[in-house]
């Protein structure tokens, strides 16, 4: 029973500590992130009318971290007059793809079929992404709304993956790795990846190797991008709560070690005496 009460204390305090800054924001700054700056600059320099692909692997599980990044980059694309093709390889992704499309229509008056397309979900994860890289027209015949893709003006400009100026993905999984393997590795199409922070060190290696032109690591990357774009959004807001949570864990670590040493010392004394 003792173990459980201790756990509840740890968990209860955690919730309170994270909640407080949400109730009363402090406004801490977001640090510089070179890899995100690179992504921003790359997209900023693409010519008007460039076709881009957003691989929207967003799911309820990871939306907290990468959904803000997807929104920020989509906004950036539309502001620069790029065309966006939204695809997904996870079942849940389609819900977010549709929402992204709606957002672009609402905020920028984007026209479906001309400014953006929502492609249907294709199963098979890596195999599917590889198939799209190798033969995009073979994989997709219809869009998410069951219309023949050939009737959409934007689609007629796309023959192969090489027609895309950049492919970006928003993922908590190995999509970065697949992008690097199949899209950059095989066809040298520039890739940008926005990953959950767990995968950030990994993706950072790809960025350093020159296999990605830029990347956004977790909420921090998204917050940086939002600020760079001049449109603070969800990511910027949650950064305070993030900091509070980090500090709480660090304090917990400290207390844990102090109590560990203390108990070991007193045990040592007891065995001596």
């Amino acid at each position: 029973m003792y173990k459980f009460t201790q756990q509840w204390l740890i968990w209860g305090l955690l919730s309170i500590v994270v909640l407080l800054p949400l109730v009363k924001p402090i406004g801490l700054p977001v640090g510089y992130a070179a890899e995100t700056e690179a992504a921003f600059k790359f997209i900023d320099n693409l010519p008007k009318g460039s076709i881009t692909m957003m691989v929207c692997e967003v799911a309820p599980s990871n939306a907290g971290e990468i959904w803000p990044a997807a929104i920020a980059i989509a906004r950036h694309h539309l502001e620069k007059g790029h065309k966006v093709v939204i695809s997904t390889f996870i079942p849940d992704g389609i819900m977010y793809s549709l929402e992204l499309g709606k957002l672009l229509e609402k905020e920028y008056g984007a026209k479906y079929g001309e400014d953006y397309i929502v492609l249907p979900y294709v199963a098979g994860r890596e195999t599917a992404l590889a198939a799209v890289a190798d033969n995009i027209r073979g994989v997709y015949k219809e869009d998410q709304f069951k219309q023949d893709l050939n009737n959409l003006p934007l689609w007629t400009r796309i023959q192969s993956i090489k027609d895309f100026a950049v492919v970006s993905c928003y993922t908590s999984s190995d999509d970065t790795w697949w992008l690097v393997r199949h899209i950059w590795g095989k066809y040298q199409v520039p890739c940008i990846s926005s990953t959950v922070s767990v995968a950030t060190p990994d993706s950072l290696t790809y960025y350093k190797n020159g296999q990605l032109v830029g990347m956004l690591g977790g909420v921090r990357g998204a917050a940086y991008y939002e600020q760079r774009l001049g449109k603070p959004g969800m990511a910027t807001k949650s950064m305070d709560a993030q900091s509070a949570g980090h500090i709480y864990l660090l304090v917990l670590m400290l207390i844990g070690n102090v109590s560990y040493w203390y108990s070991r010392r007193s045990q040592g004394r007891r065995s001596e005496g």
Partner: protein, 251 residues
């Protein structure tokens, strides 16, 4: 020939050659030594403990898509099932991947057949659970069944931390293994034993000494030695401004 893939082809061909040569040589000499992998030694302990306590074990696959890690984990499942059948323990197998569900059934059943106890095989103990909601179901399983030991293998993602820590909270011993380095820290921190990266793939050899597996492991070993050598030479050359080796590998 597609451009930029010559070095890959050379690698692949060399790999296959070493695989066959080494496996033939093992068949002739029967000589082979592999270093200890504590996590695999611990499996027997785990089964023994489960039998003693009369509480079941749980084997949970990672929810990432089916690939080589999944096959390696199936291999380990086979071994665990045999031990379980031999010592009359109970094992709940959970797979979030529908593709391997039939394979899990086959493996479990044949383990019981092999131990001469086909009547003990109960297919309800093998469950497919949709990847997303499997987290809730597995947590429920841990507490309801009071599992004594938990094995977490395969292509793991987020769920690693939840399963590993929840298992230790119900007092279960845990062995885990994945090659996804982004989940390894959680396994290392929360589990009793962890198979790190390639150790997961060495499990097959460790448990069976099948010639082709020994051949494959030898080829892996040769590739690692080659990688180390190439890295050192390449870095030395690059330090003197020569990147010829880097360029060769770009072919």
């Amino acid at each position: 020939m597609n451009p930029g893939r010559i070095s890959q082809l050379v690698f692949l061909v060399a790999f296959i050659c070493i695989l066959f040569i080494a496996s033939e040589s093992y068949k002739r000499t029967g000589k082979f030594r592999i270093r200890r992998i504590p996590g695999l030694d611990a499996i027997d302990e785990l089964v023994g403990r489960a039998t003693e306590m009369g509480r079941p074990l749980a084997f949970v696959f990672g929810a990432g898509e089916m690939e080589a890690q999944t096959f390696a984990s199936l291999r380990i499942l086979g071994y665990v099932c045999e031990q379980v059948a031999r010592y009359d323990a109970r094992l709940h197998t959970v797979t979030p991947l529908p593709e391997i569900y039939p394979m899990c059934l086959e493996i479990q059943r044949s383990a019981y057949v092999k131990q001469g106890k086909p009547q003990d095989f109960n297919q309800d103990f093998v469950q497919y659970l949709p990847a997303d909601s499997s987290k809730a179901s597995v947590l429920g399983l841990f507490q309801r069944e009071k599992v004594s030991g938990v094995l977490l293998f395969g292509n793991y993602y987020y769920e690693s931390m939840v399963f590993a820590e929840a298992a230790s909270l119900v007092g279960a011993a845990t062995i885990a293994g994945t090659a996804n380095f982004h989940q390894l820290p959680f396994f290392v921190a929360a589990c009793d034993y962890t198979l790190i990266g390639e150790e997961l793939f060495a499990a097959g050899v460790y448990m069976s000494r099948e010639p082709s597996e020994i051949g494959a492991l030898t080829a892996q070993e040769a590739a690692k030695v080659a990688a180390v050598t190439l890295m050192l030479i390449g870095a030395a050359l690059a330090s003197f401004g020569k990147d010829s080796l880097v360029n060769i590998l770009k072919n």
